[in-house]
C-alpha cells in the first residue's frame, strides 16, 4: 500500500500540532505571556485548516463525534492505523 501522500499530509499536521503542544505546556506555566498566547491561537487556526484538508481525504481523525464527517462506508474503521503508516 502506497501511503506516502497520506504520510506527508499527516506530517504537516504533526508539525503544526507539535507547535501547539509546546505552546500549550509553556502557557500552563506562563499563562500571562500574550505573545505565546497569540502564537497558540495562530497554531489552532492552522491545525483546523490542515485537519479539515486531511479529513476530507482520509476520514475523521477523531472518534465520538469530535472529528470531521465520515463518507460512506464508515471511514473511522478504515486503515492504515497510525502504527501501520
Amino acid at each position: 500500500m502506497n501511503c506516502e501522500k497520506q504520510f506527508m499530509m499527516l506530517k504537516r499536521l504533526q508539525e503544526m500540532e507539535f507547535v501547539a503542544i509546546e505552546l500549550n505546556l509553556y502557557l500552563d506555566t506562563h499563562p500571562c505571556d500574550t505573545d505565546a498566547l497569540n502564537d497558540y491561537n495562530c497554531a489552532v487556526e492552522a491545525i483546523r485548516k490542515l485537519k479539515k484538508e486531511y479529513e476530507s481525504e482520509y476520514g475523521p481523525l477523531m472518534n465520538f463525534g469530535m472529528g470531521g464527517y465520515s463518507k460512506e462506508p464508515w471511514q473511522w474503521a478504515m486503515g492504515p492505523w497510525p502504527w501501520e503508516l
Binding site: F7, Q14, D28, M62, P82, W83
Partner: protein
C-alpha cells in the same frame, strides 16, 4: 474524558526490523521509567495539586505521555514486523515469542512485568512534582542509553524526539514547582492533609 486521535504525535519509521533492539526499547513501554508509568503517574497526581496551572500541566503532560506510549508501541510493532521464531531466538527474546508472539506486553528490558510500584503519589504537591522531575531525568537517561544501542537513523530520530520531550517536561515541572511553592508562601497556605487551608482558619 479522552478522545483518540488517529495519528501519532511524531512519525515512527524503521529502516529494517530489529528484534534485538525491540527487546531493549520495550522498557519504555512497560518499564519503571517508561511512558505508561509516566502517563499514569501524572494523570493520577492531578487530584492533589493546589493550583489550576499545576492541574493543567499534569493533565497535558500525562496526555502527551500516552501519545509517547503509542509511539513506543508503534516502534516495537515495526521492529518485530515479520520476525520469525528463529529471529526472536537469535535476539534472545524467545520468551516474548512463546508467551505473546507478536502481541505487545508491558515489561522492562529484562522481561519484568509492569507494576504500579513504578507510580508514586504522596499527595503532597511539592513531593510529587519533585518526583516527576526525577522521573523525567530517568527517562531522558534511558533514552540516551537506547540511542547509544542502535545504528538505525530512523529509530534514532524517534528516540531523539522522545528524549527532547523529557527535557521540556522537566523544565515545565520545575516551573510548576516554583509556582506551587510561591503560592504556598504568598497566601500563607500550610499543608494540612489533602487540603490546602489558610493559616488561622
Amino acid at each position: 474524558m479522552w478522545i483518540y486521535e488517529k495519528k501519532l504525535e511524531h512519525p515512527v519509521r524503521v529502516s529494517c526490523p530489529d528484534v534485538k533492539f525491540a527487546k531493549m526499547v520495550i522498557t519504555q513501554y512497560g518499564g519503571p521509567d517508561g511512558e505508561l508509568s509516566a502517563s499514569l503517574r501524572y494523570l493520577n497526581q492531578r487530584y492533589s495539586m493546589p493550583t489550576d496551572n499545576a492541574k493543567a500541566l499534569l493533565t497535558d503532560i500525562g496526555t502527551e505521555e500516552l501519545a509517547h506510549m503509542e509511539m513506543i508501541a508503534a516502534l516495537v510493532y515495526k521492529l518485530t514486523d515479520g520476525a520469525t521464531c528463529e529471529d526472536f531466538k537469535e535476539a534472545g527474546w524467545e520468551g516474548q515469542f512463546v508467551q505473546h508472539d507478536h502481541g505487545l506486553f508491558w515489561t522492562d528490558a529484562n522481561g519484568v512485568p509492569w507494576s504500579a510500584k513504578y507510580i508514586a503519589c504522596l499527595g503532597d504537591p511539592i513531593t510529587d512534582l519533585v518526583e516527576n522531575m526525577a522521573a523525567e531525568q530517568k527517562a531522558r537517561t534511558t533514552y540516551e542509553h537506547l540511542i547509544a544501542c542502535t545504528d538505525d537513523p530512523c529509530v534514532k530520530d524517534t528516540l531523539r524526539f522522545l528524549w527532547e520531550r523529557e527535557v521540556v517536561h522537566f523544565q515545565r515541572f520545575g516551573e510548576a514547582l516554583n509556582e506551587v511553592q510561591e503560592w504556598m508562601c504568598k497566601s500563607k497556605h500550610v499543608w494540612c492533609g489533602h487540603e490546602m487551608r489558610k493559616e488561622g482558619k
